[in-house]
Amino acid sequence: MNARCTCMLLTLGLSFVLLAGCDRDQYPASLEYTFTPYPRKVAKTITIKREADGKVVQVGAEGPPAAAPDVLAALGADLQPGQEKGVGVDAQEILDIPYERQAAINSELKQFFGTPRDPRVEVSEEIINDPEMRLQPEHLQEGSKLYRKLCLYCHGINGDGAGPTGAFLNPRPRDFRRGIFKFRSTVKINPDNKKPDPPAQVTPSFDDIKRTLQRGVPTASMPSFNLLSDRDLDALVSYVIHLSLRGMAEYQLATGETDDPEQATISAAKRWLYGSARGGPNRMEKAVYVPPAMPGGWGGTLPTSAELKESPGLKVYRGDGKCVECHWTDGRSNPLDVPTNLGRMNDWGQLNPPRNLTTGVYRGGARPVDVFWRIKLGIAGSGMPAAADTLSDEDIWHLVDYVMALPTQQR
């Protein structure tokens, strides 16, 4: 065999061997959490006008208009040529800070939150060991390994939803960093009997996040991790909470709400666990809302179209529930019927119009109680308001009955 053949065979052989790759099961020790920009929604009021040629434009726009052309056209649908009016639109802005400040925040928070390989949360033992948090360092390390294997490429190393795969997905992966989670069963309670803050920004319970992991989010790219063991799921939930706490602390420092990283950390942890920065074990402001039993239980038969027309749920839907304003009478939330739906954004500045209720897909869970929670507690980060103050539990159950029958109706 000549030298050429030997070289060729050796190269082939070596390539096969190297294909196997090197595998580590943890983040590298030198990797640290870093600040990445925060996308968020800002509500703007602009003046729009219909020009002589029929196009609706923004008046006095410096640079690109605040909303897309189709949004402007929809909002200005009722304008005559030459007429103008003021409207509110959603826009996305990116919170970014100078590089020196970023580096300062990164190193400040490193003492309190550690590194991806070695995560921790420097708060009181009481908070760390609370079953709603489980932030023990060994537990977080297990979570970190699983997160790196299963979640990192969509949700990013620091939980910003901007991992390498994230840009290709619609809806985008969740940005954990502001402590806003859509699917919760928690409500703000009011230990002092004063009017509580709006429940929309309450953090979820441990179980809420776990349920999302188990179920996935149907029609979004979040898969179901039902096959992971309980222990693995618990570790992941704790790690997500850790990322969320770090983000909440970082956000306070980045927006200038506080300059003290220790205070930012403690207030983030207290807000998560107790429902507010002032809260404590004896002054809980957050609780899982357990609804009264569904009238008639979860059974019976689906109402016919005729029965549905007479149902109490329909009366709530078209009356006190104010559902028609966004979801329209047929539940389709079609922007042709509700022009303001077109440009609606969520708190992260991503397009997030009111849901079409006739698809039969419930991203937060398809049990009646899940839909009950969405209505009663609202969907944090989105425009779905909480009905806790406006509707009684009985009315909400009627509404659930009605809404969940919509997908099977003939049109």
Partner: protein, 282 residues
């Protein structure tokens, strides 16, 4: 060296057969043990085809190596001009065609038993679907019937238009009773996926725009096969490339020991779904 190329080509049948033998001997390296009734026929067909193609494969490869060995080092001489042998060519074409036709017709009854819905319906006119299985990128969603406390049996589950009153959703999990045929309806929300339970020898593509009946059973299980909760889990995977997440589209089939166990689970699951705990472990 003299016989380098001949030896190189000899590695093909040697490695080929060697890999099969190695897989067979290695635990978990061969077919998962079959638990369904149709599996016997399917496995027999698999082995029959493996035997036929294996023998032909080894023979042709050895012939090739033999030709290379005898040709090696032969000094150049006067070539013969030949058209080959017409009889030989006809013979090996007809023989191959005959083998293929045989295989094609031999497997028809098994295919009919596994895929002809009419035949299945005739054999089981009263069977009710256990689940509606919806494939999506990248997980499986199953809808199974709720338990009807009043009538003490599972609800009538309308697979064409399931709703929250007759069924509930689960993800990456399918429950079924052992010892009887199970019917599911399979569809997909987006692209082509494929419903595959290796141990039950059932595979069916889920095609967009269709709802396809699929039937299978787990009849070869003994009471000792079941774990402490009287269940046994089987792997269920997607068998059609559906995107970047195809590799992770794994799910589990949970087989309950008897129909009564399955009903008990349905009853318990319905009750569980109806209750809300304030805190973990409450």
């Amino acid at each position: 060296m003299r016989y380098f190329w001949a030896l190189l080509f000899l590695t093909v049948p040697v490695l080929g057969v060697g890999l099969f033998v190695f897989s067979y001997l290695r635990p978990g390296g061969w077919l998962p043990s079959n638990v369904s009734t149709i599996g016997d026929e399917i496995d027999f067909l698999f082995y029959a085809i493996l035997a036929i193609t294996g023998v032909v494969f080894v023979l042709t490869q050895l012939l090739l190596v033999y030709a290379m060995v005898t040709a090696t080092g032969r000094t150049a001489g006067k070539s013969t001009y030949t058209h080959g042998s017409k009889q030989l060519e006809i013979a090996w074409t007809l023989l191959t065609a005959a083998i293929l036709l045989f295989i094609a017709f031999y497997q028809v009854p098994t295919w009919a038993k596994a895929k002809f819905f009419g035949q299945f319906k005739e054999a089981h006119p009263d069977i009710k679907p256990t689940a509606l299985v919806v494939a999506s990128q990248f997980q499986w969603q199953t809808r199974q019937a709720l338990w009807d406390d009043a009538a003490n049996k599972p609800r009538e589950f309308n697979w064409k238009s399931p709703n929250f009153r007759d069924s509930f959703e689960m993800y990456n999990e399918l429950h079924m009773p052992a010892g009887e045929p199970v019917l599911i309806y399979l569809t997909t929300r987006d692209v082509i996926h494929s419903f595959w339970i290796p141990a039950m020898r059932v595979k069916q593509d889920a095609l967009p725009g269709t709802v396809i009946p699929v039937w299978f059973d787990a009849s070869k299980l003994k009471p000792t096969d079941f774990g402490p909760e009287k269940t046994k889990e089987f792997e269920w995977v997607c068998a059609e490339l559906c995107g970047w997440g195809h590799y992770r589209m794994r799910a589990k089939v949970v087989v309950h020991a008897t129909r009564e166990d399955y009903n008990a689970w349905l009853k318990q699951k319905t009750a569980e779904l109806n209750t809300v705990k304030k805190k973990e472990g409450a």
